[in-house]
């Protein structure tokens, strides 16, 4: 049966997913720095002054009140750890880590507490929580506000990691993450917020752990993550003009990873290009390349190509940052190298 859809921005889609899930389950609470904003400021008792630094959570406090949309101090360990404690005692918190680059001040509560609690307790507890966080370069936000680093969380047992690339996926995957009984890191690329697309109305869930073919083809498999998906599609257009029909695969969930989808596509195309905006070492790019090399070796007709950011922090100057971010052109070259 056809679902009604309409065009929303990525930002609106995330906001809608939060609203729908909070409507659906009173145990879902939001917390983070200025997720409402203006707490205790006269005139903002039940209104938001900010709705998040980039306005993603705007309007939610009006609908759900300050008991469920909690402004926090700049104490990421404190409130993200509180989310872990709340999740293990009956709530479903959605905590916002404003920029993923801030994980260094609260990683213990994420990977040692939230992620391991269930295992260390012998499966006798669960931690149903989501950490929403912004990733990505291109905002001229420099070295401490522009990283990706989802590889670090994907490395950690006990965590699930999700990186949507379209508004519809953002809504459906965030809903799935909130309903999931394990801790989920949900990565939102700040340069995708203003992109738009068709998004189903009402409750909409996209199962975790399922990749999505964003473009079919048999010339080569391009596995792209987050903002690299639109870049890969752009590259694919150019290559199509040259007669090469590449398949663009979006894993959407990095942990669990849809290995079958990746291996299946490569068995068909016999070529792999991985596009990852993260730094190259011990990255998703190496993770996927190693998966394919070790499990589909005989189906590869060319060496896997890795298109990633360089092994450097993110520079400020636009000329430098634009050089840092993988470009559609680099993807085209990489695909050509496999043909």
């Amino acid at each position: 049966m056809a679902v009604a859809t309409r065009t929303l921005t990525f930002r609106e889609a995330v906001n809608e997913a939060l609203a729908v899930e909070m409507e659906r389950d009173p145990d879902v609470v939001l917390m983070g720095e200025d997720v409402a904003g203006g707490a205790t400021v006269e005139g903002f008792e039940q209104e938001d002054a900010w709705g998040g630094v980039l306005g993603v959570t705007k309007g939610l406090v009006q609908r759900f009140g300050r008991d469920r949309v909690l402004d926090t101090p700049i104490s990421e360990s404190g409130y993200i750890g509180a989310a872990v404690g709340a999740a293990s005692t009956g709530l479903r918190p959605v905590a916002e880590l404003m920029f993923v680059d801030f994980f260094g001040v609260c990683m213990d509560q994420i990977f040692n507490q939230g992620a391991k609690l269930r295992y260390m307790f012998g499966g006798k507890a669960k931690v149903p929580m989501v950490i929403r966080t912004m990733i990505g370069a291109g905002f001229r936000a420099a070295g401490q506000h522009s990283g990706c680093h989802y590889s670090v969380f994907t490395h950690m047992p006990g965590l699930k990691t999700v990186v949507p690339s379209t508004p519809a996926d953002a809504k459906g995957l965030l809903a799935a993450s909130i309903r999931d009984d394990d801790p989920v890191l949900f990565f939102e690329h700040k340069l995708l917020y203003d992109t738009s697309g068709e998004v189903p109305e009402g409750e909409y869930v996209v199962e975790l752990g399922r990749a999505d073919v964003k473009r079919e083809g048999d010339g080569a498999t391009v596995v792209a993550i987050g903002r690299m998906v639109p870049f890969a599609l752009e590259a694919a257009e150019g290559l199509a003009a040259e007669g090469a029909e590449v398949e663009v695969l979006d894993p959407r969930t990095l942990s669990p990873l849809d290995e079958d989808a990746i291996l299946g596509s490569v068995r068909k195309t016999r070529r792999l290009v991985v596009v990852d905006e993260d730094n190259p070492r011990c990255s998703m790019a190496t993770d996927i390349a190693a998966l394919v090399a070790s499990r589909a070796f005989d189906h590869l007709d060319a060496p896997p190509q890795l298109v990633t950011a360089p092994h450097t922090p993110v520079p400020f100057s636009p000329v430098l940052e634009d050089f840092y971010v993988p470009s559609p052109d680099r993807i085209v070259e990489a695909v050509r190298a496999t043909l």
Binding site: A82, Q113, K124, A125
Partner: protein, 322 residues
Amino acid sequence: MDLTKDNAVWIYDRMVTIRAFEERVAKLFADGRIPGFVHLYAGEEAVAVGVCAHLGDRDYITSTHRGHGHCIAKGVPLGEMMAELFGKVGGSCKGKGGSMHIADVSRGMLGANGIVGGGPPLACGAGLTIKRKGTGGVVVCFFGDGAAEQGTTHEGMNLAAIWKLPVVFVAENNQFAESTPVGYHCAASSIADRAAAYNMPGVLVDGYDVVAVHEAAAEAVERARRGDGPSLIEAKTWRYFGHFEGDQVTYRTAEQSAAYREHDPLTWFARQAVDRGLLTAEEVEQRDRAAEAAVDEAIEFADRSPLPAPEEALTDVYVSYR
């Protein structure tokens, strides 16, 4: 002391049970029957027991690497605890956690913690659940003097204060963080003084006097249940064993420990209780014997419990994964 007989019996029973458990664990460790890092609570019984005497099923505690005493005071079964230390299937965590991660969420025990300062944020979260669901419960956050220097402790206390969470922070000041004395690692004259930094009541009590601890905790727990927010209790205490089993304890003198043993919290409380007619000498002896028997039983249970199958290492990571 304004304790009922039931209070007194419960308090003595729990304290002596912790003591018996820890002394036996020390032996079992020495005999090589318990692997890994084991931090014993003996000497500090009055703190966990005096505080937990006010807690019930709807209440939670967060603990530390030195968690056996907290577990016993909150009602975690001894057999499951011992089986956990043995790495057996019957353990509180099916043998996956060990001493530093003993937990029993079903009994409000949110886990020992291998990370110093790991507890305060978690305690705030349990407090948030209580507040949101209006259960009337409270959360007690136990942490050591060394943990007072961890940023998470600062963040947790500030968060609990501004959100008026029903959390009681209990600093177990046994005067050392491993081999480092509190006077060196802590710039404050007293950890309790730091309560002022969060506008919460702060009180320093003699952690060897279970009655004093019990009284201070009564007020803090009441305040939390009333919805008036968190408090900080610093209990000055002393551990009888080393930081962990195997520690040669070169940084303290035998005299110091002897002095504390002279005011042992168990014998002190027993004497007081008997003097005040809350307990009879017979009841005390009976409790002593009962505690030993309970630990014997726990060891038998742990011995009988099977070792996990190796492949069990792969389970319980997620509720579901694909």
